[in-house]
């Protein structure tokens, strides 16, 4: 983890200081990563979409559609969690360490609740659905997303533990980067959520 505590160098004419350049690089790198890796989720959506053509109707005949109630609440929890992550970063920026810890605790709790619902949904796909691509692609997509959510919740937790001890300065990249990863998880889920539960 890079420390941003060192004093900034005096910028030379026309060239950004080392610290500014590093922040600029991190931000652009994160944006490109998000644009890039969302394509893996888009690929999964295309898989789902192409496999629908193997069937005359979707969900296939004899398979009950997934109940969107529980996943919708989980989606709301995830959105709220992303919002809290944002609030937490803002609080830390303005020096409110308590605000940061409260927001991020809430965000992580909501994130874990979201993942619990996803596990429940993943386990409870009916046998009839699993006999068709309707169930198989659902498990593919939720499972693929879950792996990312799990990894990034671990990142949030790691950054939270350091951040709650005041490890980061107010212009730290670590919090911003972790938050942006969590937005990525949120956006990726929104795409999947719409495709899985609403596009019939």
């Amino acid at each position: 983890m890079t420390s941003y505590a060192e004093p900034r160098e005096k910028p030379k004419l026309g060239r950004p200081s080392e610290a500014d350049l590093r922040l600029k690089n991190n931000r652009l790198g994160m944006t490109i990563f998000q644009l890039s890796w969302i394509m893996a989720f888009v690929a999964m959506i295309i898989v789902n979409w192409q496999l629908r053509f193997s069937y005359s109707e979707w969900p296939p005949a004899g398979v009950a559609p997934f109940d969107p109630l529980l996943p919708s609440s989980a989606t709301l929890a995830l959105l709220l969690s992303a919002f809290l992550v944002r609030r937490g970063v803002e609080a830390q920026r303005s020096g409110h360490l308590i605000g940061f810890t409260m927001c991020w605790r809430g965000a992580m709790a909501l994130g874990v609740a979201f993942m619990a619902v996803i596990i429940y949904e993943f386990v409870n796909v009916s046998a009839a659905a699993m006999a068709t691509q309707y169930g198989i692609t659902m498990r593919l997509m939720t499972g693929f997303h879950f792996v990312h959510a799990l990894a990034i919740v671990a990142v949030l937790l790691h950054v939270y533990r350091k951040g709650s001890r005041g490890h980061y300065s107010s212009d730290s990249w670590a919090l911003e980067g972790a938050a942006k990863l969590w937005y990525f998880v949120t956006l990726a889920w929104m795409l999947f959520y719409v495709v899985l539960y609403w596009i019939r």
Partner: protein, 559 residues
């Protein structure tokens, strides 16, 4: 003009050589975050894979010497041989080899101290050896037999466990490629000196930028496809099995959505190299600089719209014509480059260095590969030569005649910068002659046997093709032999080559405005780029080069 402050002075060449020590060879075996070390690590690793993959090609040609099975115990053994040949050459040789030159040259051309994310850079490289071990292990355990394209159901129902390892290894290589490409894009956007606008960027940087954009946007599709393949093989899903509601065309769509853009990942940096080498060694500005930069972007963009031309025989018929049209359109930006190269060398003061010879070799061979590409884009012709040696010939013309010739041009061109010593030009010319003739007589006759109907990917063929195949195999052995010349040249020149000096080619781009090899921070002071990267033949450029000579000591062994 140039304000390059390096406290060396116009002293004797030994002093210049002593001023910058080459890294010890053991440095290259260790974790290092220096982009120059990482570049050489990429280069050496991928060159080793080139030799391994080349040895496999020799075995393939030996098997095809006679129409019957002789070297191979079975057709399946032959299948796994060409599968691993293709996999090594694409994933472990060409793609990482461009990461080698990109890593070494791009930060220097931008006047940067290192890449934007040095640690990530090293990590991306160190993913390659384990990935290679996994892939090669698969070959010895229970080899994949489905070709490098791994079409199901060949790759799900017929291939051994090596196919699973193949998919795991390819997954790692894809992740490495994405990380490397993010690094290149951020470096190119953020690390340029303030004087260097995008329109003053060297064309290799343009090409690497376009390549990296393709890699970050397309490689996740490979990851998706490989995930499905792994699940089908290991977890019992049926994505590619029609009996379970799956679709075999699903693989072809997702895989080619990555792998067609990936052919531009393999050739675009070579096109960038060509613009550099042709301009520098014919002492002329690049003809139509802006259009060349934009045509790289054009190829990157149009490259995403053509994937289904690999599926002309399996696609829904009504989709064929649109893909035929987009495929033909991609010849336009490629043609722009072709004419730019011809315009660049036209009337130039050409020096036939080894780098220049290989660049001219690329020019002549790639145009053949490009034209057969347009032929294959034409649907009726494609169906006629589908899965014949015509296709084999086409993609070797663009990947060997294109990429590998550009890799050799880049090697001869930047070797002095990398090691501080010149390569032997006489050996370089001999290497070029053997490579060029060996290549041409290996792959050009394949067009003919392909049109006569010899199918690809078979060990046993009709006896009437025997003469052709013996001629092809003989030429292939000449081509294989030519590689030993360059290996000898590299080793000999590394120890005994003449000292190169800072700027042996008298080039204007920034990588030459520092010592050879560059110091760990690349430049002693922030370098100032010349107003035009290829502004040769003006009084201002002569003054700039004069200033560089004064700063680093005049040293021009090529004269």
């Amino acid at each position: 003009m140039a304000t390059i402050a390096v406290p060396l002075g116009a002293e004797a060449e030994e002093q210049v050589a002593d001023a910058v020590k080459r890294p010890a060879l053991s440095e290259y075996l260790r974790w290092s975050v220096d982009h120059k070390i990482i570049g050489v690590q990429y280069g050496i690793a991928s060159f080793i894979f080139f030799i391994v993959g080349g040895a496999m090609a020799m075995l393939i040609r030996l098997e095809l010497w006679s129409p019957d099975l002789d070297l191979m115990v079975s057709g399946a053994a032959y299948n796994s041989l060409f599968t691993i040949h293709g996999t090594i050459m694409i994933f472990l040789f060409i793609i990482p080899m461009w990461a080698a030159f990109g890593n070494f040259v791009v930060p220097l051309q931008l006047g940067a101290k290192d890449m934007a994310f040095p640690w990530l850079n090293a990590f991306a490289f160190w993913l390659i050896p384990p990935a290679a071990i996994v892939v090669l292990l698969g070959y010895f355990v229970s080899p994949a037999e489905a070709g490098w394209t791994s079409y199901p159901p060949l790759s799900t129902l017929f291939s051994g466990d090596g196919q699973t390892l193949w998919a795991l290894g390819a997954h790692l290589l894809g992740i490495s490629s994405i990380m490397g490409s993010i690094n290149f894009i951020v470096t190119i956007f953020n690390m340029r000196p303030p004087e260097m606008t995008v329109w003053r960027m060297p064309l290799l940087c343009w090409a690497v930028l376009a390549t990296s954009i393709i890699a970050v946007m397309a490689t996740p599709f490979l990851a998706g496809a490989l995930t499905l393949l792994l699940l089908d093989r290991v977890a019992g899903t049926t994505f590619f099995d029609a009996a379970g509601g799956g679709d075999v065309l699903l693989w072809q769509n997702i895989f080619w959505f990555y792998s067609h853009p990936a052919v531009y990942i393999m050739v675009l940096p070579g096109m960038g190299v060509l613009s550099e080498v042709l301009a520098i060694h014919s002492r002329k500005p690049v003809f139509g600089y802006r259009m060349v930069g934009l045509s790289s972007m054009g190829i990157a963009f149009v490259g995403f719209t053509v994937w289904a031309h690999h599926m002309f025989t399996s696609l829904q018929p009504e989709l064929r014509i649109p893909f035929m049209i987009t495929t033909m359109i991609i010849a336009v930006p490629t043609g722009i480059k072709m004419f730019s190269w011809l315009g660049t060398i036209w009337g130039g003061k050409i020096r036939f260095t080894s780098a220049m010879l290989f660049a001219l070799g690329f020019l002549s061979l790639f145009v053949i590969g490009g034209i057969t590409g347009v032929m294959l884009a034409a649907l009726p012709f494609d169906i006629h030569v589908h899965d014949t040696y015509f296709v084999v010939s086409h993609f070797h013309f663009v990947l060997f005649g294109g990429s590998v010739f550009a890799i050799y041009a880049a090697l001869y061109h930047w070797f002095p910068k990398i090691t501080g010593r010149m390569m032997n030009e006489r050996l370089g010319v001999i290497h070029f002659v053997f490579t060029y003739l060996g290549f041409l007589f290996t792959f050009f006759p394949m067009h003919i046997v392909g049109m006569l109907g010899m199918p690809r990917r078979v060990a046993v063929y009709d006896a009437r093709f025997t003469d052709w195949n013996q001629f092809i195999s003989f030429s292939a052995f000449v081509l294989g032999f030519s590689t030993f010349i360059v290996i000898y040249n590299i080793i000999r020149s590394y120890y005994r080559g003449p000292i190169a000096g800072a700027n042996p080619w008298r080039a204007l781009t920034l990588e030459w405005q520092t010592t050879s090899p560059p110091p760990p921070t690349n430049f002693v002071d922030d370098p100032i780029p010349f107003e035009e990267p290829y502004g040769y033949g003006t009084a201002a450029s002569a003054a700039y080069l004069e200033a560089v000579d004064e700063a680093f000591g005049r040293d021009d062994p090529s004269q």
